[in-house]
Point group: C2
Chain length 399, copies 2
């Protein structure tokens, strides 16, 4: 089984871009990913591609993967569209890793895109709703925010989590996003802003919900056989884990956690040979503020029920012991559905390769990404490790 | 790289089933696949799942993979939806092979489903249309039959292919399908029927077009490490090839062939270490009669331009030198989009394991499947080999 390395990653700006198409956004992300590879990469080197998208607005519901790879000149390269709702991008990355490990490809593109801001609010509700259970949630009138609101309410009732703790997630992520030139909402929000914003679905206010966003993000993953052609860096995909679950929240074993996240994390830690205590920073799936709190617990960053006090302690701030969502997260960076999972890897790549600008962490070694589909029907977790430079004198390099 | 083996495969009946749901059809296919494994397989053995579907009718557009695997009790198992239009199922199989070869899974389920007959004709046209190019084909009024009609016209003009030769594809496939108890259209059609049927898109008549169909099909693929737990048969995935291309026909280099099919076949033959002359039978993507003729040429079964006379010669009949679409093909067995690619593997599995009933070929060794997305924006080809029983005295076993 070949090891898999990330040699490049790039994104378009995330935001609202009425003058762009899904193809133009994908092209920008693709070119930025290629440009980020230290020794360059030729499109002809790419053996395989995976593209994650939900297809919001129904703009190219079939063959939407090949529709973007043809546009960047990769016709001929096998391209597979991967869709697991909001986790489409994370699963595209996982497939890319698998392709490399299988020996069937040496250089694989994992991309994702979504264009969401040119459709009506009604249409956005529909397209978010399709990631929930159709018959018993969407067609019964439950919105996507409503599903997460039920989880928030359950967590508050069970663990005394407070609305203010939810707001602290928003404040932190906006603070990080304000430092990210590619983020959708590049502004700070105060605790008061978050607390007093209009309610979307009780107890979630507007600032407890991520925006709808246009954007694309691409990652290049290669085998150990070819990695040295592209870079002296060694950003290894150390661990991969994924799990599915019932699509409808009402069918799951708990409302105060996401079992698929727990299972995916357990598998990712096992394959990486580390535990949550070894993670230096993480991009987690904060589509709603409660989702970030659940992630803290599901990923083992704090004990069950303690996520509220964990964020309140500042532990997950940019200067905390375990910075979470240094990019701004879905909350501030934005959530262009199919691009979110690949976009998380872009941030980890930047942090591990020292390109994160004003958000740069000092010397992170392990970065984690956590991407959830729907309200937990699927989840995928990756652990990335910054190996030291290859050097014969260095014997403690983690393999 | 572990070798990958097919140890089981099963399908629901293909047809029109107003009383069924996508979940119930998938369940039937899943159970039939499990039941086909000689030593049985426990659901708990399944490490990974891929599900192909286009999502016709929009019934569960997000997380449609997990929505069916949860229903059969596989929640927890990572399930990824794969969509490459009509090739979704074939790509699901390819991902399953990759998962096994990567060492990340030992037992993988590749499934597909579609429910199409409960939506209006207008809606079917829309859903088939989404697999074409959106802006320049579908929204400009080009139907899916219209795209293939352009290819048929081009082939007829360039190579003197005749409408009667197109009809011979229909006659042959209906003859095979009439022997398949799971086929949608289990009746013969005469040359006169096919020739005189109403025109759908000149020169294609109704009998030159496959029906819209409900159905599901599942395949179980395992690693060489575990294959002997399940069966003494050795039906190996000997070759895999895939390619993408421009989604719109008008952007492609030729109208008289499908370049992605050619590339996919070349790669599949290379990885299998065989040539088209070694193939004993094949299931090819005959969504329209012209598509089967193009496949003959793209897969190297006959010379370019000779497909019409090749079918006319009887070479591809059940008792011919190279039987094609022994199942009845998309034309007679039916084309439930996401299930078509996995359904092709069901037929190959049956033929190679001696379970094809009245359609059984004598002693096939190599079977091929060929699955096309849209009008050629993606294609995937698999070569399956029936290895001899493991026997230390047999030294000529192909590895």
């Amino acid at each position: 089984m070949s090891k898999a390395y990330v040699v490049g990653a790039g994104q378009s700006d995330f935001g609202s871009f009425p003058e762009e198409s899904y193809r133009s956004l994908f092209t920008t992300a693709y070119e930025n990913a290629l440009d980020s590879v230290p020794s360059g990469v030729s499109p002809g080197d790419i053996d395989e591609a995976y593209v994650g998208t939900l297809g919001v607005g129904g703009r190219q519901l079939g063959l939407s993967g090949p529709a973007v790879t043809e546009h960047v000149g990769l016709d001929g390269v096998p391209c597979t569209r991967v869709e697991n709702a909001c986790a489409a991008g994370g699963y595209a990355v996982r497939q890319a890793v698998m392709a490399v490990r299988s020996g069937m490809a040496d250089v694989v593109l994992a991309g994702g895109f979504e264009v969401m801001t040119d459709v009506s609010g009604e249409s956005v509700r529909y397209w978010l709703g399709v990631s929930g259970e159709t018959e018993w949630e969407r067609l019964s009138g439950t919105t996507f925010a409503g599903v997460y609101a039920q989880m928030a309410r359950a967590h508050m009732e069970t663990y005394d989590t407070t609305a203010e703790q939810l707001s602290r997630v928003a404040v932190k992520n906006h603070e990080n996003g304000a430092k990210n030139p590619h983020a959708h909402l590049q502004f700070s929000c105060s605790l008061e802003d978050a607390q007093s914003a209009p309610t979307v679905a009780e107890p979630l206010t507007l600032y407890h919900c991520c925006p709808t966003t246009d954007g694309a993000a691409c990652v290049l993953i290669v085998s150990e056989d070819v990695v040295e052609q592209y870079t002296d860096d060694r950003i290894r995909v150390a661990g991969v884990g994924a799990a599915s679950d019932a699509v409808g929240l009402f069918q799951r074993e708990t409302y105060t956690g996401i079992p698929a996240s727990r299972q995916a994390a357990t598998r990712a830690y096992e394959t990486a040979g580390i535990g949550p205590e070894d993670v230096d920073f993480a991009e987690v799936h904060d589509c709603f503020a409660i989702a970030e709190l659940l992630a803290y617990e599901d990923l083992g960053f704090c004990d069950r029920g303690h996520a509220g006090s964990f964020v309140e302690s500042g532990a997950t701030a940019l200067d905390g012991e375990l910075p979470i969502n240094t990019s701004g997260g879905l909350k501030s960076k934005g959530h262009p559905i199919g691009a979110t999972g690949t976009g998380q890897v872009v941030e980890v790549f930047k942090q591990l390769s020292g390109r994160a600008g004003d958000r740069q962490l000092e010397t992170p070694r392990y970065g984690l990404t956590h991407n959830v589909g729907g309200s937990g029907g699927a989840a995928v977790v990756h652990v990335f490790e910054r190996e030291r430079e290859r050097d014969s004198r260095t014997t403690e390099v983690d393999q």
